[in-house]
Amino acid sequence: MKNELLKYLRTDILPTEFCSGCGCGTVLNIFCHVVDELKINPDDIIMVTGIGCSSWIPSPYFSADTLHTTHGRAIAFATGVKVMKPDKHVIVIAGDGDLAGIGGNHLIHAARRNIGLTVFLVNNYIYGMTGGQVSPTTPSNVPTTTTPYGNTEPAFKIAELVSAAGASYVARWTTYQVFHLKKAMKDAILNKGFSFIEICSQCPTSYGKRVGMREGIDQLKDFRDNSIDLKKTAGMKDEELENKFIVGKFAERNRTEFTENLRNINRKFDEVPV
């Protein structure tokens, strides 16, 4: 018995190269369910990605037109694609090191422009593929390859950052809350402006073993026990929210979309008789 969703994947390279228990596979699974339930033709999807473990989700596994770009530049490439092909679903799936670390500036400026991209940031809290170096999202005091005595820096709160930068849909969910994540992915794909979901994901190989959670299931149980709904955090102190995963919808607002504005200007000049 084969899974019907395998029709969306490049099956000749399965099973995936992800480590056993990796959260990237869960994101791929839920994304296939979302595409299937929204009845989107994969020909109408253009996937753009950068470098990292989670960049393997679109390239090579998900079978749509794919751009596998240089490190951190996924959103820059996707902006170009969306301007030329505004009727396609341009979806970026990449990791925290790619989108928030090296391509952080592209991320906040795409949110400011409110360009109609859908960005799924798979946050595994570390540079997993290159061997577990510290990333901008690594929590304080966590030992990594490059910070063997513990990370001295505080972590980036990416969902809050993108929400403040002006994106029209922002949410954060973990790979444990699969139904919420599926609903959020649907909303993000159907939303017209810049939609962003930070997906907290487990990385048993590079991150989990350094924080004493050697299997993927240990980190999933951590997500289950330490997640707090955004609505319940009002009035809570920062110390209480330390090492907690604040999940929920951070922003949903109506703003004019970048490519629409661009096209309106073009139309103004098209009307002038030559």
Binding site: M1, K2, N3, E4, L5, L6, L9, L14, P15, T16, F18, S20, G21, C22, G23, C24, G25, T26, L28, N29, I30, C32, H33, T175, Y176, V178, F179, K182, E215, G216, I217, L220, K221
Partner: protein
């Protein structure tokens, strides 16, 4: 395997499974157990041992990182969920 009562079917794609045990641990009724059998890649795959406990919640199918768990339900059950 097919359950007669309401036709819930659970399949495990043994060629894809990597034995991460997420389905075994997260299934609240405890439908899956680890089998004694190795698959072609050397992992102990789960088997749906207690089919009657399955509530059809679909968590195992959605959370499986390898798309190896397949749940088939009739339309009536699907609507309720």
């Amino acid at each position: 395997m097919i359950r007669e009562k309401d036709k819930i079917e659970i399949y495990i794609d043994e060629g894809l499974c990597k034995g991460c045990d997420i389905c075994i641990e997260l299934c609240r009724p405890g439908v899956f157990v680890k089998s004694e059998k190795l698959n072609s890649r050397g992992y102990y795959v789960p088997v749906p041992a207690s089919m009657n406990k399955c509530t059809g919640c679909m968590i195992c199918e959605l959370i499986c990182p390898e798309l190896a768990v397949i749940i088939k339900k009739n339309e009536l059950v699907k609507e309720v969920v």
